[in-house]
């Protein structure tokens, strides 16, 4: 599961929808096995559009869970009116590596509201609930 996908996943428990703690899930840094796929090419337009779309606080939270505390505390502002500067491109390339090239192969994610633990196995996140919670 690509790190960018964490920006779209919330806890599946209905009652947690009323809480603000059902997103993002908390990823266990010690239990997550990360893999890198350098063959995924950098796509400037895609990354620029991603910046518009992503919840930066959630990116910070997940990156922090996984031991990456080097990100700026506010979402980098790109000057998209003109050609992107070298600095902007460097930011986007870094984020491409983190969000698109990096995946969680095995690991756990936990709802910060109800504490339910979900598993990622063979890169596929499983957000099915057991019958008593479904």
């Amino acid at each position: 599961m690509k790190i960018l996908t964490t920006n779209f996943l919330k806890c599946a428990v209905k009652a947690c929808d009323k809480s603000n703690d059902n997103f993002p899930l908390r990823y266990s840094g010690s239990e997550c096995e990360l893999v890198q796929d350098p063959s995924i090419e950098f796509n400037e337009e895609f990354m620029t559009n991603i910046m518009d779309r992503i919840d930066w606080d959630a990116v910070l939270s997940v990156a922090g869970d996984l031991g990456n505390t080097n990100l700026p505390s506010t979402k980098p502002l790109l000057n998209t009116a003109e050609q992107l500067s070298e600095d902007d491109l460097a930011v986007l390339r870094d984020l491409h590596v983190l969000l698109v090239q990096t995946s969680i192969k095995e690991g756990t994610m936990t709802c910060r509201n109800c504490g339910h633990v979900y598993y990622i196995k063979n890169s596929i996140p499983n957000l099915l609930l057991p019958p008593h919670l479904a």
């Binding site: 690509k2 960018l4 996908t5 779209f8 996943l9 559009n49 991603i50 957000l127 099915l128 479904a134």
Partner: protein, 220 residues
């Protein structure tokens, strides 16, 4: 005509691409100009609920729908067999470069609200006494397949869950394509959804054996 993905999987566990799947592909092809104008030059989050064999999501990736190199594809299925099949279909059709994320999930339950720009749903629409229970192990092969077909009363129990959530699933500019059979009584659903402020438009319909299938487009 756009190419159709090559699919090969174990049809004891996942739904074999049939008339309904092909009707969806034809609908999406016909809708290309509409989708292109709606999603031009921007990022699109695509979500297929219940991809089964993966034929529809693979078709979208293969043909760069709705926005070429600018789409994220979530394939959310309750069945582990379907997720395997979807990944396999993507590989067979050389879609490794697309952003595809198979997610084991009960419909959209784990997808953050108001994020989906393009929703595709070919539901379990066959009327049945009830929607079968979710198997507890992967080995209950027939049971997983039943889950892909049987939709309870009027074949609408699962589809209704999605319709009730449509507002929460779709982004403000989002669009959904959902397939129905005549026994789902889609004309009654049109009435109900328009009362809630939805525009529900019939895009394509086709006779398939003794069944009439239709695909509707939902927008706000």
């Amino acid at each position: 005509m756009l190419p159709t993905p090559y699919i090969k999987c174990d049809y004891d566990t996942v739904y074999e691409p049939s008339e309904d799947s092909f009707l969806l592909l034809d609908t999406l092809e016909e809708e290309l100009p509409y989708l292109e104008s709606r999603f031009k030059n921007r990022l699109s989050v695509v979500c297929e609920l219940g991809p089964g064999s993966g034929i529809v999501t693979t078709f979208l990736m293969q043909n760069g729908i709705p926005s070429k190199n600018q789409s994220i594809y979530f394939a959310a299925d309750i069945s582990p067999w379907a997720l395997d099949a979807t990944l396999d279909a993507a590989k067979r059709n050389k879609c490794e470069k697309s952003y595809l994320e198979p997610i084991q999930s009960d419909l959209n339950r784990c997808i953050k609200s108001k994020e989906v720009d393009l929703l595709i749903f070919n539901p379990p629409y066959v009327p049945a006494e009830e929607v079968p229970a979710v198997p507890t192990t992967k080995e209950e092969r027939d049971e997983w397949l039943d889950l892909a077909l049987l939709g309870g009363t009027d074949g609408m129990v699962v589809t209704n869950k999605v319709l009730d959530q449509l507002d929460i699933i779709l982004s403000p500019t989002g669009v959904a394509y959902i397939l129905f059979c005549a026994r789902n009584k889609p004309e009654q659903i049109v009435e109900r959804m328009s009362r809630d402020g939805w525009s529900m438009e019939l895009i394509m319909h086709r006779k398939a054996g003794w069944e009439v299938l239709s695909v509707y487009r939902f927008t706000r």
